[in-house]
């Protein structure tokens, strides 16, 4: 589409308990921003119904270039997948202002 430039979208769904460390990691790895929504669901760790504190999930999405996306995906895989309920996926999208999402120097 006119005006849009290719960009990666990384989505991470995990336990609300790690929202803050996750966000810090993502920014440290070069992302310029992220967006979080509350979520609930089910997966290999059973249902997470967001009925109370320990049971809440979040959905974080990050627009970034391919390099950063790779770094984020690799890091969360190593740091969180073993011990936390979590899924992550990456998609190709188009953004308006590509410079806004390029790796921080």
């Amino acid at each position: 589409m006119r005006n849009t430039h290719p960009c990666k979208l990384v989505v991470i769904i995990s336990e609300a308990a790690i929202e803050d460390p996750l966000a810090a990691d993502v920014m440290r790895l070069g992302a310029h921003g992220y967006t979080v929504s509350d979520a609930r669901g089910q997966g290999s760790h059973g249902p997470r119904s967001a009925l109370w504190g320990a049971d809440k999930s979040i959905r974080m999405e990050i627009l970034c270039d391919g390099e950063t996306a790779g770094a984020i995906v690799e890091h969360v895989e190593k740091a969180y997948f073993r011990n936390y309920a979590m899924v992550a996926y990456v998609a190709d999208v188009g953004v308006l202002r590509p410079d806004k999402f390029q790796h921080k120097a």
Partner: protein, 312 residues
Amino acid sequence: MDAIPLFFALGFAARLTRSDLKIPAQLYEALSIYLLIAIGLKGGMELARQDALHILPQAIAVIGMGLLIPLLAFPILYKLGRLDRFNAAAIAGHYGSVSVVTFAVGVDFLIARGVEFETYLPLFLVLLELPGIAVGILLARMGGDWRSIRWGTLAHEIFLGKSMVLLGGGLLIGWIAGPKGLAPLEPFFFDLFKGVLCLFLLEMGLVAASQAGALRTSGAFLVGFAIAMPVIGALVGIAFALGIGLSAGGALLLATLASSASYIAAPAAMRIAVPEANPGLSITAALVITFPFNILVGIPLYNVLVGLAYGS
């Protein structure tokens, strides 16, 4: 009959029968914020009436009790129950810390029976929140990989977790403002307390039942532990109460604190500090078994034990 266990039972039954009843997540948080502040304020207000020098040695002993209990629980879980170190330590930490709502039910139990108690006991609630969690974390990390711990995050999670801030902050405000400063807050923070507690217990019943499925996989040992450990804790609590010279009412509350297991502060802290532990195990033990056991059976039982110990 007292309404408190009935509300818990209603929530439990609603969830077991798969009713669509849900307490909105933010209402749950609002209720817990209210309860934590209200308990803190009450304790702080009473503290303002006390002689600090008199309480200091008691406070130190109570912290010692908080350090001791997880050290009792850990070998039971690790040796007897053959849980791995992480899970044994995490569960021990939950039992070392305390349950605010169980404490509130204990207070209500005494008030309903007209039994006197040291009104500054919420101070001990605040003091007992952390030591057990800290010991649990240390037990998990012993002989292990200390470097992987994010100490900063962890210290924050524990010392500045929301239950510490609200309970401790409420205590401080109550202490500074004193009975006169708090008088205009009474209709909100004190008169409504028991009603709010009932709503919270409805929610606790829902949550406990939603976790009850985990009972099948957690094994008989954990169930036994979650019933035996509060009784052991209560006995320790009574012994300490005798040692520091609390009244019989105070002894029941200290026993209640010692017997209770945290299911708000501890799970949050352990999830960060001991992520290797399966949170399902500690929550099943603390919330699905120990919490209702204490509310329904434990507190009256400890009252009998206190009666025996105090010869009344």
